[in-house]
C-alpha cells in the first residue's frame, strides 16, 4: 500500500486551522440563529444551566463569560435589560455578578473592546 505523503507540518496545521474555521463559523452562525429565535424564558433556562449544581463541570460555568459576550453582540438592548432585571431580582451572592454582565455598562465596555478587521467576516471571538 502506498504511503501518504505529508505536507510540511506548517502547511498541515494551517490546513487544519482553515478546516476548523469553517466548522466553528457554522457553529457560531447556528448559535446566533438559535439565540435570536429563543424566547426570553428559553434564554433564562439555558443561562441557569451554567450554574454550579446544574453545570456538568466548572469549565461550563466559566463559559458563561463567553456566552454573555455573544449575547451583547446578538440581542437587542431591551432583551439585555430584561436579563439584567431577571438576575438582579434574585437573592444570593452568585446572581449579582450575573446581573452586572447584562448591565448597560458592561455592554458598552464589551462593545468598545470588540474588534473586527474590515476584511473579517465576523468580530473576533474569545473561546475560553
Amino acid at each position: 500500500m502506498a504511503k501518504l505523503e505529508h505536507p510540511s507540518r506548517l502547511e498541515e496545521t494551517w490546513r487544519l486551522r482553515n478546516t476548523v474555521v469553517s466548522s466553528l463559523e457554522q457553529i457560531l452562525d447556528d448559535l446566533q440563529r438559535q439565540v435570536q429565535e429563543s424566547s426570553f424564558q428559553e434564554l433564562v433556562e439555558f443561562l441557569d444551566g451554567f450554574f454550579p449544581g446544574r453545570a456538568p463541570r466548572p469549565e461550563w460555568t466559566a463559559s458563561l463569560e463567553r456566552f454573555a459576550e455573544l449575547l451583547w453582540a446578538w440581542l437587542p438592548a431591551e432583551t439585555m435589560a430584561k436579563l439584567e432585571a431577571e438576575y438582579a431580582g434574585r437573592t444570593g451572592p452568585i446572581w449579582e455578578p450575573v446581573a452586572h454582565k447584562f448591565g448597560v455598562e458592561n455592554g458598552k465596555a464589551l462593545a468598545a473592546r470588540r474588534w473586527q478587521p474590515h476584511d473579517a467576516r465576523r468580530f473576533a471571538i474569545v473561546l475560553r
Partner: protein
C-alpha cells in the same frame, strides 16, 4: 516569683480571657522591657495548646447536615511572623509579631466559637454570633473578653516509647493517617525527647501532614482541609527549633493531635501513589536523585498551561510525562508555583478569588521545603498533590461568575504608574495596599519590576503592607512563602511570585480591614 514570671503569667491570663487588646499590649510592653520574643511566643503557645484542639473538623448540625470547622491558626501566625521578623529587620519586624499576638486570643477553641459559646474572631466575624438570638451576653460579647473558662477537647498525654525508632515512626504515621489521635500523639512525644531521631521525626511529621489533602474542593463542602495539616506541621517544627525541642511541648500539643483529626483525606495521595508506582516500577523511590533536568522555557509554558486550563486528569498525566522526561521534582514544583502566581496576578479578579488558592501556594511551599530539606522516597508523589491542588482551586473559582462591576482594572493605571519617579513607587505601593486598591498596586508593581532589578525592598514593601492587616495569619504566612519561593525558584518567571503576593496583599478579601493591631504597633514602636 520574679517580675518576669509575673509578666508571663499576666500574658497567659489575658490570652485565656480572650482579651486580645490586653494581651497584645502586655506583649509589646514586655518586649520593650527586654523580654525575648521567642520566650513570649513560647508562653503564648504553651498557654493555648490545650485549647486549640477541635474534636473534629466536621461538625454535625442539629438537622443532620455536616459543616466544616476551621483549623487553629495561632501557630501559623507565630511561625510566619517569627520568620518575617528576621526578614523585615528589627523595627519593621515587630509588626508581624504584634499581629501574631493580636490574633492569638481571638483564635482559641474554634469549635466553641462556631457554636457561639466562646468569643473570638470566628464567633464575632464568621459566625456573626452577636446577631444570633439568645447567645450574646451583651452587645459585644463575641469580641471578648471571655465569660467562661476555655474548654479543652483533647487532654494532654504521657509520652510512649516502644521498639526501635523506625518502628515507632512507622506506627506514629500510621496512627495519624488512620485517625488514632491519642496513639499518634503519645508516640510522637516519646520520640521527641530523643535528639538522635529528631530529623527523622520532623521529616515524618511533615510527611503525615502533606499526604492528607483533599482530591478536590468542587462540590465537597466540609470534606477538605486546604493544606492546613501540612502548614501546621511545618510551623510546629520551626517554632520548636526556635525555642529548643526540650521547650517545644506546647507546639507539639498544638499540632500533633490535630494531624489525625477528621476528615482524613488520602484519596489523592493514593492516586498519586498508584500512578508513580505503575509508571516507575522499581525506580520511583529514587526519582528525586535520578531526575535532574530543568524545564526548558517551552516546557515551563506547557506545564503552566495545563495547570491553568486543564482538568485534574490532564494534570496527573502531565506530571507523569515530566517525570518520565527526567525533570527534577523541584523544577516541576517551581512551575506549579509560577502557575499559581500567574493565575492570581493576571486571571483572578474577584477579591474572594485568591483566598483559597493562597492556601495552595503555602502548601506548595511546605512541599518544596520538605523536598529541599529531607529525603523521602515518596517525594515525587507530592508533586502530583501540589499540582492538583493548585489546578483544583483555579477550577473551583470558575464556578463563580466573573463580576464586571468590580472595577478592578490595573491597565487604567499603567500610564499613571509609569509617570511616577521610581523613588516614589514603593511608597505609593504601600499606600495602595493599605487602601486595598489592587488596580493601582498591580500597575505600580509591574512598573517597578520593568524598571529595576531591585527586589528586596519591593518584597519588604509588599510584606510589611500586608502585615498591616489583622485577624488572619495567612496574610503573614503568604508573605513569608513569597520570600522563600521567590528565592528558591529557578525559573525565568519567578517575579510573578512577587506580583501575586502584591495582588494578594492589595486585593484579596481580608477578614478585617481595621487597623487596631497596626495602631498598637505604631504607638509602641513608632513604626
Amino acid at each position: 516569683m520574679t517580675s518576669a514570671t509575673r509578666d508571663h503569667e499576666a500574658l497567659s491570663e489575658l490570652i485565656l480571657s480572650a482579651d486580645y487588646r490586653g494581651a497584645a499590649t502586655q506583649f509589646t510592653d514586655m518586649y520593650l522591657a527586654g523580654a525575648p520574643a521567642a520566650a513570649m511566643m513560647r508562653t503564648t503557645v504553651d498557654t493555648v495548646a490545650p485549647h486549640v484542639q477541635a474534636p473534629s473538623h466536621l461538625m454535625q448540625l442539629a438537622d443532620g447536615r455536616i459543616r466544616g470547622v476551621n483549623f487553629d491558626h495561632t501557630i501559623l501566625g507565630w511561625r510566619a511572623s517569627m520568620k518575617l521578623a528576621e526578614r523585615l529587620g528589627e523595627k519593621a519586624g515587630l509588626l508581624p509579631l504584634t499581629q501574631a499576638i493580636w490574633y492569638v486570643p481571638q483564635g482559641l477553641n474554634v469549635w466553641d466559637q462556631i457554636l457561639c459559646k466562646f468569643p473570638g474572631h470566628y464567633a464575632r466575624d464568621q459566625e456573626q454570633c452577636d446577631a444570633r438570638d439568645g447567645v450574646g451576653a451583651d452587645e459585644h460579647a463575641f469580641d471578648g473578653p471571655a465569660w467562661q473558662p476555655v474548654e479543652t477537647y483533647f487532654p494532654d498525654l504521657e509520652p510512649r516509647r516502644e521498639g526501635s525508632a523506625n518502628a515507632q515512626i512507622h506506627e506514629m504515621t500510621d496512627a495519624i493517617r488512620s485517625g488514632r489521635r491519642e496513639d499518634g500523639y503519645a508516640l510522637f512525644l516519646g520520640l521527641a525527647r530523643e535528639k538522635e531521631h529528631r530529623e527523622a521525626l520532623k521529616e515524618a511529621t511533615l510527611f503525615a501532614g502533606i499526604i492528607d489533602i483533599q482530591d478536590t474542593l468542587i462540590d465537597r463542602g466540609a470534606y477538605q482541609n486546604i493544606g492546613h495539616k501540612a502548614l501546621r506541621a511545618r510551623a510546629m517544627i520551626e517554632l520548636a527549633d526556635e525555642v529548643g525541642w526540650e521547650n517545644g511541648h506546647g507546639m507539639f500539643y498544638s499540632v500533633i493531635p490535630d494531624l489525625g483529626s477528621a476528615p482524613q483525606l488520602h484519596a489523592l495521595w493514593q492516586s498519586a501513589s498508584k500512578l508513580v508506582e505503575s509508571q516507575f516500577p522499581g525506580s520511583w523511590q529514587t526519582l528525586k536523585q535520578d531526575n535532574r533536568d530543568p524545564l526548558t522555557e517551552r516546557e515551563l509554558e506547557e506545564t503552566i498551561d495545563v495547570i491553568l486550563w486543564g482538568e485534574q486528569r490532564d494534570v496527573l498525566a502531565h506530571i507523569t510525562k515530566r517525570l518520565l522526561q527526567g525533570k527534577a521534582l523541584l523544577a516541576i514544583g517551581d512551575a506549579v508555583a509560577v502557575s499559581y502566581s500567574r493565575y492570581i496576578a493576571d486571571i483572578a479578579d474577584h477579591p474572594n478569588a485568591p483566598f483559597v488558592p493562597g492556601h495552595a501556594f503555602d502548601y506548595c511551599n511546605v512541599i518544596h521545603h520538605w523536598i529541599r530539606t529531607y529525603d523521602n522516597p515518596h517525594q515525587a508523589k507530592a508533586i502530583y498533590l501540589e499540582a492538583c491542588f493548585v489546578n483544583d482551586v483555579i477550577r473551583v473559582n470558575k464556578q463563580f461568575p466573573r463580576d464586571p462591576g468590580l472595577g478592578y482594572e490595573p491597565a487604567n493605571f499603567v500610564d499613571w504608574a509609569e509617570a511616577l519617579p521610581i523613588r516614589d513607587i514603593l511608597a505609593k505601593l504601600s499606600d495602595s495596599i493599605r487602601d486595598q486598591d489592587g488596580s493601582r498596586a498591580m500597575a505600580l508593581v509591574d512598573s517597578y519590576l520593568a524598571r529595576t532589578d531591585e527586589r528586596a525592598n519591593l518584597m519588604a514593601t509588599v510584606a510589611f503592607g500586608a502585615c498591616r492587616f489583622q485577624n488572619d495569619p495567612h496574610i503573614q504566612r503568604q508573605a513569608i512563602s513569597m520570600y522563600e519561593e521567590w528565592e528558591a525558584n529557578r525559573t525565568s518567571q519567578r517575579d510573578h511570585i512577587i506580583r501575586s503576593s502584591a495582588k494578594y496583599a492589595s486585593h484579596c478579601i481580608k477578614r478585617s480591614t481595621e487597623f487596631g493591631g497596626y495602631d498598637l504597633y505604631r504607638s509602641k514602636f513608632g513604626g
